[in-house]
Structures are given as structure tokens and as C-alpha cells.
């Protein structure tokens, strides 16, 4: 990793975002295995560099749209761990008062316009957020996170083409984690780089190392600048790897079958985004080891507090079923 041009405080900021996501997701995985969380949970472990690097290149006014695997995007944009955890528990104090759950967390106050549970479903909405910025002469940009699976949806085609023809400030960030559920991405398309599809829409299509948070930051920063300057959309394909399951508890769906080799998983572990960034931070003396440990302990503590608060929170009142309806 050679990122000497990136300011140390930015590196530390990105490192903090990666670590917050990792510790949150590890705890969510534990809670799910203990049977404490209802519903489906899709963890972002192994992909943290993408959300952290990209969101560090944004301002609070910029907006993002997320996916079913959306916890990392909320945290990277500055989301509140307590309200997130409470939502995962289905509690009244959650971001969505228990009406959304893991796949539908939003925080409109920080420009997090929502996680969308339908693959590709958020892409047109992100185009609309970009349209809004263009319409109001704002220099806001809209970031659309989506996966390799979404790149095969019709909404991908329509959204990139629409954003390109209207020259909207939208940054399409494809998190290619190598699998659409259990099907290898390379089995679901006859090209090796989704980024190549940018050419089909007349927009730049860039491949980035999605395990390197600082590279993600650099690539995103350039795309953001281009979008703010009226240059239109960019497609960024972040090559990453889904460390864990498609959804926690996937063994139950697989009935003893496997779909990834031990070698593949071992190789992926050598490209762990947290460890890579930790090495960079340590080697460049960005923060002394003791302070890094303190930071980790603080984050771990804040996650534990979020869990406690969520457990202690009230369940939604049944009457709330009929709240948040037509304005």
C-alpha cells in the first residue's frame, strides 16, 4: 500500500470507520448465532474498505443508497450504533421503530437514504437523488452501493444509462464480493470486470482494490470531484470478497454442501481490509500501538453498550402499526 499523499487524519478516520464496522458486524454475527436476532442478517465483514473509503470521500450533505448488506454503509456514513442495533432487535428505539430491520435501515439526517432489500432496487433511487442535486444546482453527489448480482439486473442498465444521458452526479459503486448468494459472479456473467460495462454507457468504468480502504478513498474522491464538476457519473468496481455467509445461518439452506474452497478462503484472509489498514497505520506511525488498542477497546465498548441498550429497549407498541402512514 502506497498512500503517502493521503493525510494522516484521513487515514485514521478511514481506519476508525473500518474498525467500527468490523466490531459491529462481529457482534451481530454472535447475536445471530445465539438466536437473539429475528429475520435475515447479511454481514459486511471483508468488505469494510469499500464503504469506509468511499464515505470518507463524501460530505454530510452527499447521499448514499445501500443494499440488503447495508450495515457497513450506515456506519461508514456516520450512523448511530445504538439506533442500528435497536433496529436489528426490532425495538421501538431503532432507526425505523422496528418496521425496517436489518435490510431497511435509513438515516435521512446524514444522507443515508436507505438500505433496499431488493437486488438492484436502490439504483434508480440513487439516480433520483442525483437528479435532485442537478435540479437544484446543488454540488451534492449521490452514491449508489450495489453488488455484483445487481449488475445483472435490468435496473443496473436503466439506471446507468439514465444517469449518463442526463449527466447526473451519481457514483455507482459495485461491490463485487465474488458471489451472488452462492453463485460465483463469474458464472453469472461472461466478462471478468463489471467495470467494462461503463463503456456501454459512455461513462468511466474503473476497477479498484476493494480490500484497500485508502485506494477506495482515492478512487472515490476522483469520481466525486468529477461529479461535482458536472462531469457526470462514474462506475467503480470494487473487487472484494465476502468473508462470511451470504446470510448468517446459511448452513441451513445449504444442507451440508459447500460452494467455496478452503484455499479461496485462506487467500481472502490474507487480504483482510482491517489487517491491511492496521499494518499501514502501524508501519507509518499514524497512531502508537497503545492508542490503536485504546481505539479498538472504545469501539468494542460502544458496540457492547449498543447491545445492552437494544436489549433494554421496549418492543414497539402494537398501535405503532398504524403510525407513519400517509402524511
Amino acid at each position: 500500500m502506497h498512500h503517502q499523499d493521503i493525510a494522516l487524519e484521513v487515514v485514521l478516520d478511514i481506519y476508525t470507520r473500518v474498525l467500527r464496522i468490523r466490531r459491529f458486524e462481529e457482534e451481530v454475527g454472535r447475536l445471530f448465532r445465539q438466536g437473539q436476532l429475528p429475520g435475515f442478517v447479511h454481514l459486511y465483514i471483508g468488505e469494510e474498505a469499500v464503504a469506509a473509503g468511499v464515505c470518507a470521500a463524501l460530505t454530510d450533505d452527499d447521499t448514499i443508497i445501500s443494499t440488503h448488506r447495508g450495515h457497513g454503509h450506515v456506519i461508514a456514513k456516520g450512523g448511530d450504533l445504538n439506533r442500528m442495533m435497536a433496529e436489528l432487535f426490532g425495538k421501538a428505539t431503532g432507526y425505523c421503530k422496528g418496521k425496517g430491520g436489518s435490510m431497511h435501515i435509513a438515516d435521512f439526517d446524514i444522507g443515508m437514504l436507505g438500505a433496499i432489500g431488493i437486488v438492484g432496487g436502490g439504483m434508480p433511487i440513487a439516480v433520483g437523488a442525483g437528479l435532485s442535486a442537478w435540479y437544484t444546482d446543488s454540488d451534492r453527489v449521490s452514491v449508489c452501493f450495489f453488488g455484483d448480482g445487481a449488475a445483472n439486473e435490468g435496473s443496473f442498465h436503466e439506471s446507468l444509462n439514465l444517469a449518463s444521458t442526463l449527466r447526473l452526479p451519481v457514483i455507482f459503486v459495485c461491490e463485487n464480493n465474488q458471489y451472488g448468494e452462492f453463485t460465483p459472479a463469474l458464472q453469472a456473467m461472461n466478462i471478468s470486470d463489471i467495470a467494462d460495462r461503463g463503456a456501454g454507457y459512455g461513462i468511466p468504468g474503473l476497477v479498484a482494490d476493494g480490500t484497500d480502504a485508502l485506494e477506495m478513498y482515492r478512487v472515490a474522491k476522483a469520481a466525486v470531484t468529477r461529479a461535482r464538476d458536472g462531469g457526470g457519473p462514474t462506475l467503480i468496481e470494487a473487487k472484494t470478497h465476502r468473508r462470511g455467509s451470504h446470510a448468517e445461518g446459511e448452513e441451513a439452506f445449504l444442507g451440508g454442501q459447500t460452494y467455496r474452497s478452503d484455499e479461496e478462503m485462506a487467500a481472502a484472509r490474507t487480504k483482510d481490509p482491517l489487517l491491511l489498514l492496521h499494518s499501514y497505520v502501524s508501519e507509518n506511525d499514524i497512531l502508537p500501538a497503545a492508542q490503536l488498542e485504546t481505539l479498538d477497546a472504545e469501539i468494542t465498548q460502544s458496540v457492547a453498550e449498543a447491545v445492552d441498550a437494544a436489549r433494554d429497549s421496549p418492543a414497539p407498541e402494537i398501535e405503532s402499526l398504524f403510525e407513519d402512514l400517509w402524511v
Partner: protein, 322 residues
């Protein structure tokens, strides 16, 4: 009072609301050129930014409307034909109607999807279906299908000012119909029916083009000495249950007339509601008059045969008397 066509009234509503509120804009395929007269002339007045032509991408355009709505604008998404809404189903069913609720009230989605709906131009199955019944089944989507120029203008203006997603359907067969439209501004409330004709013998409930079918049937029934009350619902979701139930309390007979395919039609919902809530008032079983249960055929002769006719309505009323 000036008489205007149905499409002219819609165009007037769009222009007035765009003048009133800069956040209101029109987006869709060929809205600049105004391929349908309802949008013609708007580009000349409002320019490229507020009358936005798009590729033929219903899903993305519908979703872009949602994205613009949740970030402070008030889009009118023109998707041309009702059947084209099917291409945008995910955005309407999974996102537009659900977002406010799903995100715990954090946002609102002030958005109008505008399409022509229904038969009348002999255009075959892909351009002739009434689609309102699908969207009645989706929580938190408002659905409007006006039958007159006056209602069209007043309800579209209300839809544009509404903070929720609204599907505004204007009837293909009524486009050239003329009616009185005041020059002064007015709004009509969504969800309020209009009693087109009073009567004490039978309640006939209709919406959009079937309002005229019902009125024609009522004329024929009058010659037999039967006085039908004809209700134009105007809005399908929410719909004016109270006006219908009050009428049935008076007449004791109910006929629902609807240009939908029969299963889970709008008529099914009205009939079920009357059977459920007004059973003690009923002197006879409720009746439904809908399209025949076949895809829309092309030939004008066949298309006419699929649609509810005044004779069908008269026959249904007769069934309530035996």
C-alpha cells in the same frame, strides 16, 4: 364557465402547479414534444430542467422520481400507458408506497405517477388495459381515476400537492370529452365520491369511463320506472366507502361497474365491502359488471364486447330485482 376537453384540463393542472411550485417537474418519455396532448406546450413554458425527456426506462424513471421526491422535489412521472407501470412494479410496490413506513416515518414521498389507462383506442392488450385494481392492493399508494375534465383538473392538482405517492390514471377513452372547467383555481379532495344521479331503487357504483356506462344504464332503467343512484368514486384508494354504504342503506341493491378483469377487480372490493358492512340493508345479492376474463383483443368489435356495457348493467340491476 368555459368548456374544455379532459386532456386540456389535465394540461392546465400541470401548468398551474408548475407555475405555483418550482419543486414540481415533469419527467418521462417524450414529455418535451408532448406526445400526448396532456403535456404539450409545457416544455415551451418551463424548459429543459422542468420538463425532462428520458430514455424508455420505466423502472429507472419511476425510481428516479422516488429518489427526487425523498430529497425534496415533487416529481410528476409520466409513464404514458397504464400497462407500462408493470415495468416499474418494483419501484412502485416495494419502494414508493413502503418507504415512509419502512423507514419509521423518516421521509415522505410526494410523487405522482401519471398514465393513460383503459381501453378505447383499439390498441390491443399492451395498450388497452385498465390497471387501477393492482395498485389498490398496494398499501400506501393513492389511486385516482377521474371521469370528467373538472374532476381531472381538481384531482390532479391535489395529487401534485399531496405528500404521498399517487397514481393518477386518466382514461384513454375520455381524452376528448368536454366539460365545464372553472377559470378560477380549485382543488378537489382525494377520496371523495361524486353522486352523479340520485335514485332510491338501486346503487350503481362506477369509476372513470364506466361512470358513463352506468349513467346510460340509469336512463334505460328510468324508462322502466326504476330510479338508480349512480356514484362516481373518482378515487380508488382511498375510496369513499361511506357514500357507497349510505346509498345502499337507502336503495338496498348494489351493482359495481368496473373496467377491470373480474378477479380481484375494483368491483370485487366494493362488492365485498357492501356485502360485509351493509348486509342487513341488502334486498338482493350484490352484482359485479366487469370486463370479460380475457386479454384485451384488438378488433373494435371484440374490444367493445369485452368492456362493461349499459345493457350488462341493466341486466345486473334486473338480477337484483328477481
Amino acid at each position: 364557465m368555459p368548456r374544455k376537453t379532459y386532456v386540456a384540463a389535465i394540461q392546465e393542472a400541470l401548468a398551474e402547479e408548475m407555475r405555483r411550485d418550482e419543486r414540481v417537474f415533469l419527467i418521462g418519455e417524450d414529455v418535451r414534444i408532448g406526445v400526448f396532448p396532456s403535456t404539450r406546450g409545457l416544455h415551451a413554458e418551463f424548459g429543459d430542467r422542468r420538463v425532462i425527456d428520458t430514455p424508455i426506462s420505466e423502472l429507472a424513471v419511476a425510481g428516479a422520481g422516488i429518489g427526487a421526491a425523498v430529497t425534496g422535489l415533487r416529481p410528476i412521472v409520466d409513464l404514458m400507458f397504464g400497462t407500462f407501470l408493470y415495468l416499474a412494479f418494483d419501484q412502485i410496490a416495494n419502494q414508493a408506497g413502503a418507504m415512509r413506513y419502512m423507514y419509521g416515518g423518516q421521509t415522505k414521498v410526494p410523487l405522482v405517477f401519471m398514465v393513460q389507462s383503459g381501453a378505447g383506442s383499439s390498441a390491443g392488450h399492451h395498450h388497452s388495459q385498465a390497471v387501477h385494481q393492482f395498485f389498490m392492493n398496494m398499501p400506501q399508494i393513492k389511486v385516482i381515476l377521474p371521469s370528467t375534465p373538472y374532476d381531472g383538473k381538481g384531482l390532479l392538482k391535489s395529487a401534485i400537492r399531496d405528500d404521498n405517492p399517487v397514481i393518477f390514471l386518466h382514461s384513454l377513452s375520455l381524452g376528448g370529452k368536454r366539460g365545464e372547467v372553472p377559470s378560477d383555481e380549485y382543488l378537489l379532495p382525494i377520496g371523495v365520491a361524486d353522486v352523479k344521479r340520485s335514485g332510491s331503487d338501486v346503487t350503481i357504483c362506477a369509476v372513470g369511463p364506466t361512470v358513463y356506462t352506468a349513467l346510460e344504464a340509469a336512463e334505460k332503467l328510468a324508462t322502466e320506472g326504476l330510479e338508480a343512484e349512480v356514484i362516481d368514486l373518482r378515487s380508488l384508494s382511498p375510496w369513499d366507502k361511506r357514500t357507497v354504504l349510505e346509498s345502499v342503506a337507502k336503495t338496498g341493491r348494489f351493482v359495481a361497474v368496473d373496467e377491470s378483469f373480474p378477479t380481484c377487480s375494483a368491483a370485487s372490493e366494493w362488492a365485498a365491502t357492501v356485502a360485509e358492512e351493509a348486509f342487513p340493508d341488502l334486498k338482493a345479492p350484490v352484482q359485479r359488471v366487469t370486463n370479460a376474463d380475457v386479454p384485451m383483443p384488438f378488433s373494435p368489435v371484440l374490444e367493445k364486447a369485452v368492456l362493461p356495457s349499459a345493457a350488462d348493467v341493466v341486466a345486473a340491476v334486473h338480477r337484483t330485482l328477481t
